[in-house]
């Protein structure tokens, strides 16, 4: 079964229009398998993908582009208990997760 999601890349365009990722520390809540993460992470200083689903994170870890090795980390956690100190991130993204 072949599904193409957002072939026009509208989501990516609107995300980059809404915020400038350059030099920013980003937290994505509900990153899932990283589908959205790959679309902006290269522009960021660093990106943390947070998701409660271990299976999705496993896929994200396997599928992530190799050039993002140093920029992306995935964390298995709930949004209600974010395991980071206060004022750690410049940008937070709720990706289909509120």
């Amino acid at each position: 079964m072949t599904l193409i999601k957002d072939p026009e890349k509208n989501e990516t365009k609107k995300l980059h229009k809404a915020v400038d990722f350059a030099g920013k520390r980003v937290l994505e809540i509900g990153c899932g398998d990283g589908r959205l993460t790959w679309r902006y992470a290269s522009a960021s200083l660093s990106t943390i993908g947070l998701d409660p689903d271990k299976d999705s994170l496993r896929i994200a870890a396997i599928d992530h582009p190799s050039d993002l090795d140093d920029k992306i980390h995935f964390v298995n956690a709930e949004a209600e208990h974010i395991p980071f100190n206060k004022e750690t991130f410049d940008i937070a993204i709720l990706a289909w997760s509120l």
Binding site: I4, K5, E11, V19, F89, W96, L98
Partner: protein, 146 residues
């Protein structure tokens, strides 16, 4: 959800940005399309869980705003498409992945199959989803936080 927003606020720097990106639940339009033409077939039925999730999300953001945690800077609606090669693939995907959120009436399924079968060689099927992206800014600490 409100607790999650409180946590997000905690880990954001002052004036940090929160992007809320999510689908709106008012419609999921089924279209059959090719490079030559697009035919709107009809709307899928949005199920109560999808509607409830959207109401809850809106209420959480309203609470966060009224608590003085975030200020809304901008918002924009835009469409995205989910595209399949055939109506059968679309139906199977919706029945497994979106089973809790939408369903497609038999009449619309039949209309999509017919339009697809009679279409050009590059005819495919898609569901249009309306999205909302909102940019929020973390407000300065209130006095009682010091």
């Amino acid at each position: 959800m409100v607790h999650a927003l409180s946590e997000i606020r905690r880990v954001l720097v002052q004036k940090g940005i929160l992007i809320d990106l999510r689908p709106m639940s008012e419609e999921r339009r089924v279209e059959v399309f090719s490079t030559r033409e697009t035919r709107e077939i009809g709307d899928a039925t949005v199920l109560p869980r999808e509607l409830d999730d959207n109401v809850a999300a809106n209420q959480a953001m309203t609470t966060a705003k009224s608590n003085g945690w975030f200020t809304r800077e901008s918002e924009e609606f835009f469409p995205i498409h989910y595209v399949w090669d055939s109506p059968k693939e679309m139906e199977e995907w919706i029945e497994t992945e979106w089973e809790d959120f939408i369903e497609i009436d038999e009449e619309i399924k039949q209309a999509a199959r017919s339009a697809w079968a009679l279409g050009d060689g590059d005819t495919r099927v898609r569901v249009k989803v309306n999205m909302l992206i909102t940019r929020w800014i973390k407000k300065d600490r209130s006095l009682n936080e010091y």
